[in-house]
């Protein structure tokens, strides 16, 4: 259709006309100005179309808070540079939990992106600073985290966390191996229910298939191949496991042990009562018994050392033990136990038999 035959509606819907009125596109503007001058007969339609488009062009969107975009940019950046952590990749769990502690570290980065073309500069991409603590066989380490929480790392273990933590943000660590946590409470009000607490006061241990979320408590986490266990000493712990995209949660009370059993597909998360103090005993290097049933000690050995224990005489379970045994050397421990129980012990790999 020639422009001379245009109605107001035709002008309105013409993309070149729109870029003249709305975007002030130089080429379009030059063309339409010249065209209008040559076709005074079309002035009325032309002007009406200009007026309506100008009115529509007044539409404005509210500006987004800068903090929102910064937090989201930080989140993306973190996901793109995620520490290769096979079980707890933040990238896979977006939206479930805010990962804001990296916010400030990356806020500056977000601002850096404000300049177009900045990416082309030859600077190396900024990466999140991570700290990891590792222990060798037979080694134990005591650590203090940025929030003041204390951790004892057992042998052959790795604990990974962001180097800087922002006060008032969610706290997260990644654990392979075993560690005992004494977590500082950071909530201003005395929150006790971890399940309903906001993310920014929680402390989360990512332990393989399990996320262990707490507010301020003492607990032991063991995450070794094929074995993931949590024992709670005091306070409250919420366990979370994502299965087929759906989160399952379990609340622990003091004195309970939760176990993740991948083989039990129907209910992989299970809990049972244990002697919680025994499970923290390794932190001091000594197992202290005070009228402790042998059954509890066998359970501990199976849980924390991954042993399979068989008893020729089931009555051994009822015997009570008292005293102190060094927990570092398993063979010394087993020998001491056998001596106290007045029996013999045979160990083949993970299989232990008391006769």
């Amino acid at each position: 259709m020639p422009y001379t035959a245009y109605s107001t509606d035709d002008f309105l819907a013409d993309e070149s006309f729109q870029s003249f009125v709305i975007d002030h596109d130089p080429a379009a503007t030059q063309f339409w100005r010249a065209w209008a001058a040559e076709h005074p007969g079309k002035q009325a339609e032309f002007d009406e179309a200009v007026a309506l488009l100008q009115l529509l062009a007044t539409g404005q969107l509210q500006t987004l808070p800068q903090s929102l975009k910064q937090a989201e940019t930080a989140k993306l950046w973190q996901a793109m540079h995620a520490v290769p952590e096979p079980k707890a990749q933040p990238a896979l769990r977006v939206g479930q939990r805010a990962r804001r502690w990296a916010g400030a570290a990356l806020g500056a980065l977000a601002l850096g992106f404000a300049g177009v073309g900045l990416w082309q500069r030859a600077t190396s991409p900024p990466t999140l600073a991570w700290t990891s603590y590792a222990t060798k066989a037979g080694e134990r380490r005591k650590l203090t985290l940025p929030d003041g929480s204390r951790v004892t790392l057992n042998a052959n273990s790795v604990l990974k966390l962001a180097t800087t933590w922002q006060p008032g943000h969610a706290r997260e660590v990644w654990l392979t191996g075993e560690a005992f946590f004494r977590v500082q409470h950071t909530a201003l009000v005395q929150l006790t229910a971890v399940a309903t607490a906001p993310a920014n006061v929680k402390f989360t241990v990512h332990a393989g298939p399990l996320d262990v979320a707490v507010l301020g408590t003492q607990f032991d986490v063991l995450n070794r191949p094929g074995r993931t266990k949590v024992v709670l000493q005091s306070g409250q712990v919420q366990l979370r496991h994502v299965r087929a995209g759906r989160p399952e949660t379990l609340l622990l009370k003091p004195g309970e042990l939760a176990e993740f059993r991948p083989a039990a597909t129907a209910a992989p998360l299970a809990k049972r009562p244990v002697d919680a103090a025994l499970y923290a005993a390794w932190t001091s290097g000594n197992l202290d018994f005070a009228d402790t049933p042998a059954a509890a000690v066998f359970a501990l050995l199976e849980d924390t050392y991954g042993l399979h224990i068989t008893l020729r005489n089931p009555a051994l379970r009822q015997q009570k033990l008292s005293g102190s045994v060094p927990s570092q050397d398993l063979d010394v421990l087993l020998a001491t136990l056998a001596k106290s129980l007045d029996t013999n012990v045979h160990r083949t790999g993970n299989h232990v038999r008391f006769d």
Binding site: T8, D9, L12, A13, E15, Q18, I22, D23, E48, L52, L55, L56, A57, T58, G59, Q60, L61, Q62, T63, L64, L68, K69, E72, T73, K75, L76, W77, A79, M80, H81, A91, V94, G95, A110, F113, A114, G115, V116, G117, L118, W119, P125
Partner: protein, 195 residues
């Protein structure tokens, strides 16, 4: 900051496909607001929109090696976000039938804040415009939004909404015709009062 041009975006897209994290972050930065507002227009759910944009970009990063070159990155991102939001709201409707807010199709509604016109005396005109806009069909409203708030060409609006270009042209032609008629009445009234 300077808005990203289509050419620059295409370059960034190529750099990102080649493994340049900073290029994707620049695209994220450049289009975040536009995507956020569009998503919010479609669903009205801020958290959902935030999560979907975040998921979209993280997914792009993970799958960068399988991605193709695109002509207009912004349109590609809008289309992807629209699909993401569609999938998510469908899921939400299945699982949370108690939330009536999630309707079958996207509902773009214009609000007063978007058409706050500075000059006095135009208040009536802007109120009329708003009322007229919200009486348009859903598709007309969405197409107009993409045209006037995001400056997309008909061809790109068609790409985003999954329609053909002629349908988009018709949607917008008819929508603008309705708006013109409504506003012509207002202008006549105002002229009559002045006379």
């Amino acid at each position: 900051m300077q808005p990203l041009t289509d050419e620059h975006s295409a370059q960034l897209w190529e750099a990102f496909r080649g493994g340049e994290a900073r290029a994707l972050a620049t695209l994220f930065d450049g289009y975040y607001e536009a995507l956020y507002h569009y998503g919010l227009k479609l669903t009205g759910d801020e958290e959902l929109v935030k999560d979907c944009i975040q998921n979209l970009f993280q997914k792009l990063w993970r799958r960068r090696e399988g991605l193709r070159a695109v002509q207009v990155v912004k349109a590609y991102l809008f289309k992807a976000l629209r699909r993401h939001l569609g999938d998510e709201t469908k899921l939400l409707r299945q699982h949370r039938y108690l939330l009536p807010a999630y309707s079958d199709s996207f509902e773009v509604t214009y609000s007063h804040e978007e058409f706050l016109i500075a000059q006095q005396g135009d208040a009536e005109q802007s109120a009329r415009l708003l009322a007229a806009l919200n009486r348009l069909s859903k598709r007309q409203r969405e197409a107009l939004y993409l045209k006037f708030f995001d400056g997309f060409a008909y061809e790109r609006i068609a790409e985003v909404m999954g329609l053909n270009t002629q349908s988009v042209r018709n949607l917008i032609f008819n929508a603008l015709q309705v708006l013109r008629k409504v506003l012509a009445v207002v202008m006549l009234l105002l002229c009559g009062l002045a006379a």
